[in-house]
């Protein structure tokens, strides 16, 4: 399914390039995604989107894709009577549940640290706010643990993805969503950087959503949980009876 998608995206890319050239001469940056929906269906194993666009004039491009802000609990185990038990926990608010960065050059070389921090570009600059006051050591350890765990689950990037330029003005990059990606609204922010300053910024929203059977099962289990439970029991009773019946005949 991927080759046709990329092919389609390239066609789109060419079209938007043409459009950018003729129609929107005043816009320094145009960007779009190959799809604005990541659909979680029965065969979902993760998904790659193509982010592409065109810039006016020279410059570098940084792409930041962020998931919805959620609350997270980070727990620390300690040994109690020889057994490892979750002992302490710290709650963080407004943590993006997905964080991806791509750039055409190392981000620290493109922008000063203050600017990166203002825009929260790069994991080091990401604001992760614990709800309780922490000692310095703990604050650093818990923050690092949050990032490390999210990276292990491929929800945060481990390495900045490259943004590659084609012919000087056309750029493209890949955004990979793992199979365990969470549903909700996402935001792709594209920055055009020239000589240490952000010249232009384009924002493209996208959605990650369960679709079809997956969506119906999930919302059924959530919203009519009693009925779901009863149906699960009836299905199991019938399956068991059927199995007993079939194997008695054999």
């Amino acid at each position: 399914m991927r080759p046709p998608l990329i092919f389609g995206a390239l066609v789109l890319l060419a079209a938007s390039f043409a459009g950018g050239q003729t129609g929107k001469a005043g816009t320094p940056l145009i960007a779009d995604l190959s799809d604005d929906l990541v659909a979680i269906t029965t065969g979902f194993e993760g998904s790659d989107l193509l982010l592409f666009g065109t810039t006016e004039g020279e410059g570098d491009v940084i792409v930041v894709v962020r998931g919805a802000a959620t609350d997270l609990v980070v727990r620390r185990k300690a040994r109690v009577a020889g057994i490892w038990i979750n002992r302490d926990e710290v709650r963080f608010t407004d943590v993006p549940n997905f964080y991806h960065v791509a750039s055409s050059a190392p981000i620290e070389e493109l922008l000063a640290i203050d600017l990166l921090r203002d825009e929260q570009i790069g994991i080091e600059q990401l604001v992760l706010q614990p709800t309780t006051e922490l000692e310095d050591d703990d604050a650093i350890a818990y923050r690092a643990a949050l990032v490390r765990n999210q990276q292990r689950r491929a929800l945060y990037y481990s390495k900045v993805e490259t943004v590659s330029f084609v012919g000087g003005r056309l750029f493209r990059t890949k955004v990979s969503f793992p199979a365990n990606v969470q549903t909700g609204p996402y935001m792709a922010e594209v920055y055009l950087v020239q000589e240490g300053a952000i010249v232009s910024k384009a924002v493209t929203p996208l959605q990650v959503r369960k679709l079809g059977f997956e969506a119906e099962m999930f919302s059924f289990a959530q919203n009519q949980s009693a009925l779901y439970g009863l149906i699960a029991i009836v299905v199991a009773l019938m399956a068991g009876w059927l199995a007993g019946f079939v194997f008695r005949k054999i």
């Binding site: 029965t42 490390r148 997956e214 999930f218 009693a226 699960a232 199991a236 009773l237 068991g240």
Partner: protein
């Protein structure tokens, strides 16, 4: 071929799930146990959230117990009166278990609760079974059979509410099966098992029921208790994945038939010895995980 499980929210290979179902089904057919105590840890090993593993496995056990109990009913090996009283205790017990599960889930201690229950109960049962089967193997070698009494009389027989159980040929206090039902109900809810591996020895050694009706009656009450767990887990925690349950079930049904055929070729004591070793193996694996220093002592908990 991967499938996205709607409640577990993960992508898993269909054939892995069918294979796990078949493997555990084979062993459960071979040994005459439900297999929940193997399947739930296996599901957790492959990355299914523990809460979903427990809730879903309860649902799967409903199905496998139904197909098992039908065969026992045809042979008249179910004591319905005893089953009803065990079920009554089991309903209250599983309700308490789901409540405890939910409270500990909010505290981030549910994984620990599940693992600890497994280590403790599998350890005890495994050792008892191993001991028992080795002893009877040695005894069979020396003499022909055993002259053990059906059951001993002790303080348990002095409890009030004496009831007659015709099918089991017993006259004992109704509080006994009620208590056992309650206890196993709590475990069913917490561990995602039917509890047969505790119920069966308890029926034989504590209640003194004849062996012929033990398995059928145990399966009979397991249906109701695991159905109750399925319902309560669906309502309180939304952790029953019907797609996962059906996939495991499909494999398990086929595996169980093959296992039953293979089991007919082995001796009772050998079977129990093997089962004991397997139980102890799972117990050891989980025990080591509890004690061994984890790769990352920090973890993320969501939704709470």
């Amino acid at each position: 071929m991967n499938i996205y499980l709607p409640i577990a929210e993960m992508s898993v290979d269909v054939f892995l799930l069918l294979g796990m179902g078949a493997g555990v089904g084979f062993l459960s057919g071979l040994f005459g146990v439900g297999g929940g105590f193997l399947m739930t840890p296996l599901l957790i090993f492959i990355g299914v959230p523990p809460a979903v593993a427990v809730g879903t496995e309860a649902n799967q056990i409903v199905a496998s117990s139904v197909s098992g109990v039908l065969a026992h009913m045809r042979r008249g090996n179910v004591d319905f009166k005893m089953g009803a009283i065990l079920t009554a205790g089991g309903f209250v017990g599983s309700g308490a278990g789901v409540w405890l599960f939910t409270v500990l889930r909010d505290l981030g201690l549910v994984d620990l609760l599940i693992t600890l229950s497994y280590v403790v109960f599998l350890g005890i049962i495994g050792l008892l079974m191993l001991f028992e089967s080795v002893r009877s193997m040695l005894r069979n070698r020396r003499t022909g059979g055993s002259g053990r009494k059906l059951h001993q009389h002790n303080w348990l027989h002095g409890l009030p509410f004496k009831t007659r159980f015709r099918r089991s040929r017993l006259y004992i206090s109704a509080l006994l099966p009620l208590g056992i039902g309650f206890f196993v109900g709590v475990l069913a809810a917490i561990m995602g098992v039917g509890g047969g591996f505790i119920m069966v020895p308890a029926m034989i050694y504590v209640l003194g029921m004849p062996t012929a009706v033990v398995v059928g009656t145990s399966l009979f009450q397991i249906i109701f208790v695991t159905a109750n767990v399925t319902f309560l887990q669906s309502v309180t925690n939304q952790t029953v994945d019907l797609v996962l349950a059906l996939l495991l079930l499909t494999g398990a049904v086929i595996g169980a038939q093959l296992g039953t055929k293979a089991g007919a070729k082995l001796h009772g004591e050998q079977l129990r010895g093997l089962l004991a070793l397997m139980v102890l193996g799972v117990c050891a694996k989980l025990g080591v995980d509890l004690v061994k220093t984890p790769e990352d002592i920090y973890s993320i908990g969501e939704d709470f």
